[in-house]
C-alpha cells in the first residue's frame, strides 16, 4: 500500500502549473486535496510519473460574486464550502452537499475542483454542479475555457478535461428569494458513498414553482439531470394539497428514475437503486419545497 515512485512538482502559480502540465503531458497528474488520488496511487491502480501539487497556488482559492454568479476557487476545501458565508447565502446547495462528503478529516483536505475533475458518479459535488448549471473554468497554456457542467462529465471518472488542463474555478448561479435546496442520499454508513441520492433546488413565486433543478447521484456513469422531473414541477402549484403534496412528489421521483439504468453491485441491484433513487428525489424535493415556501412567506415581511 505504498505509492510507486514519482517526481514531485510544486508550482507557485496557475501559469507555472499549466506550463508544467503541458510539458509533462499524460504522465502527470494534478495533486489537489489528494483524498481520491492518493488512495488510487497507494493501491497502485494508478502510477503517474509526475505529480503537480497545486496546494500552494493562492489564486486557486477564494470566493467572489459578480453578475448573480458565485465564483468559487477550485482549491476551496469541502469544509470551507460548508462554512463560507457567501456560499451559504448564495449557493446553499453546495454547502449542504459538502456535509455529506466522507468524514471531517477528509473534508479538511478534499477540494471542489478535485471532486469535479475526479468525476466519481456517486459523488455529491458533480451532481450539484449539473443540477445548478455550473460552469467549470479550466486553464491550459492555450488559455482559459468555460465548460458547462452538463458537458463536463463523459463517463465514470472521465471528463472532457485535456491532460494538460487545470480546473481553476467553478461558477454557480445565486438563485435569489423564494428558493429551497436539499440533498438526500442513502448510504450504508455515515460518510460512505451513496447507494443513490438526489440534489435539488426549487424556487417558488406567487404560489407556483417557477424554477426546478434535480440531479441524481450514483444512478449512472455520470451525474444525471432529471429533466422530466423538472418539467413536471415547473409551473406546478407549490401549496400542499394543490399539486405539490407528498403523493405528487413520490410520482415525480418515480418518473425521474424510470428510464435509468443504474449500476448493479454488492451494495444494491439496479432495481433497488431505482427504488431508492425515486425516494431520494421525493425526499429532497419535499425538503426543498418546504424551505422555498417558508422563504417565500417570510419574503416581503418587514423585518
Amino acid at each position: 500500500m505504498k505509492a510507486a515512485v514519482f517526481e514531485y512538482h510544486r508550482p507557485a502559480s496557475a501559469e507555472a502549473a499549466v506550463e508544467m502540465l503541458a510539458e509533462l503531458g499524460e504522465d502527470a497528474k494534478v495533486l489537489a486535496g489528494g483524498q481520491s488520488l492518493v488512495p488510487v496511487m497507494a493501491m497502485r491502480l494508478g502510477r503517474p510519473e509526475h505529480l503537480v501539487d497545486v496546494n500552494r497556488i493562492a489564486e486557486l482559492g477564494g470566493v467572489s460574486r459578480s453578475d448573480g454568479m458565485l465564483r468559487v476557487g477550485a482549491l476551496t476545501r469541502h469544509r470551507a464550502l460548508e462554512r463560507d458565508e457567501a456560499i451559504g447565502r448564495d449557493v446553499p446547495l453546495l454547502a449542504r452537499a459538502a456535509t455529506h462528503i466522507g468524514h471531517f478529516q477528509i473534508r479538511n483536505r478534499g477540494t471542489l475542483g478535485g471532486s469535479l475533475a475526479h468525476a466519481d458518479p456517486a459523488a455529491e459535488l458533480p451532481a450539484v454542479a449539473v443540477a445548478l448549471d455550473a460552469v467549470i473554468e479550466a486553464r491550459s497554456v492555450r488559455g482559459s475555457r468555460s465548460i458547462p457542467a452538463g458537458d463536463f462529465f463523459v463517463s465514470a471518472f472521465t471528463t472532457v478535461l485535456e491532460p494538460d488542463e487545470l480546473v481553476t474555478a467553478v461558477h454557480l448561479p445565486a438563485w435569489g428569494p423564494g428558493s429551497g435546496f436539499a440533498v438526500a442520499e442513502l448510504a450504508r454508513r455515515h460518510g460512505d458513498f451513496a447507494i443513490a441520492g438526489a440534489a435539488c433546488g426549487l424556487q417558488v413565486a406567487d404560489g407556483r414553482i417557477v424554477r426546478a433543478a434535480v440531479a441524481l447521484i450514483g444512478m449512472g456513469s455520470v451525474p444525471i439531470r432529471a429533466l422530466t422531473a423538472e418539467q413536471a414541477l415547473s409551473g406546478a402549484a407549490a401549496d400542499a394539497g394543490a399539486g405539490a403534496d407528498e403523493a405528487d412528489l413520490a410520482a415525480v421521483g418515480r418518473d425521474a428514475v424510470a428510464a435509468l439504468e443504474p449500476p448493479s453491485d454488492a451494495h444494491g441491484s439496479a432495481a433497488y437503486r431505482r427504488r431508492v433513487g425515486a425516494h431520494m428525489v421525493a425526499r429532497a424535493l419535499g425538503l426543498a419545497l418546504a424551505e422555498a415556501r417558508e422563504a417565500q412567506e417570510t419574503q416581503g415581511v418587514p423585518a
Binding site: M1, K2, A3, A4, V5, F6, E7, Y8, R10, L31, G34, Q35, V38, P39, M41, A42, M43, L51, D53, N55, R79, G102, H103, F104, Q105, I106, N108, R109, R189, H190, G191
Partner: protein, 168 residues
C-alpha cells in the same frame, strides 16, 4: 529516486528530514522522525488510525505526502500527552477512564480526531459525537466505550479551559 528536503514543526519542535516524494506524511513521522505513536492500518484513507493535526486541522496522514507538509505545523498523539512526563492529556485520560480502548491500535487516531472535534464543538450531543467518530474505525470496542470517552473528554477539556481562563 530523488529525495527532497522537508522542514516542519512537529509537536512544537522544528524538524528536518530528507524524504522520497512517494513517502506519506505518516511514513515521514514514523520512520524519519521516529514518532511511532501515529499508527498505519489501511493506508488508503479509510480507517483513520493515522490521523494527525496539520496546521490545526485533523487529516489522514496516509493521504498526504510528507513533502506536502513542508513548512507546516504538525501535531501527533505524542503532542497531546499531559504536561508532566509520562502523564496523559485530557482526551487520553478520558479514554483510559471509560475503557475507550481494548487493543489500543486505533486509539492514537481517535485521540487526535476527538481533540480536533472538541475544539470546534466543546459541548457535543451524542449524535454529534457519533458523527465525529464515523471517520475512525475500531475493531475491538464496539464504540460504546469510545462514545463515553468523548463525553468525558468534553467535560475534562471544558474544565481545563475554565482553569486556564481563571489562571490567566
Amino acid at each position: 529516486m530523488s529525495e527532497l528536503d522537508v522542514t516542519l514543526t512537529v509537536n512544537g519542535q522544528r524538524r528536518r528530514a530528507r524524504v522520497e516524494p512517494r513517502r506519506t506524511l505518516a511514513d515521514l513521522l514514523r520512520q524519519e522522525l521516529g514518532l511511532t505513536g501515529t499508527h498505519l492500518a489501511c493506508e488508503h484513507g479509510v480507517c483513520g488510525s493515522c490521523t494527525v493535526l496539520v496546521d490545526g486541522e485533523a487529516v489522514r496522514s496516509c493521504l498526504m505526502f510528507g513533502v506536502q507538509a513542508d513548512g507546516s505545523e504538525v501535531t501527533t498523539v505524542e503532542g497531546l500527552a499531559g504536561d508532566e512526563p509520562g502523564s496523559l492529556g485530557p482526551v487520553q485520560r478520558a479514554f483510559w477512564e471509560t475503557h475507550g480502548l481494548q487493543c489500543g491500535f486505533c486509539t492514537p487516531g481517535f485521540v487526535v480526531s476527538v481533540t480536533a472535534f472538541l475544539r470546534e464543538c466543546p459541548d457535543p450531543d451524542d449524535e454529534q459525537i457519533r458523527e465525529a467518530l464515523s471517520g475512525n474505525l475500531c475493531r475491538c470496542t464496539g464504540y460504546q466505550g469510545i462514545v463515553r470517552a468523548v463525553r468525558l473528554a468534553a467535560r475534562l477539556c471544558r474544565e481545563e479551559l475554565r482553569r486556564e481562563e481563571a489562571g490567566s
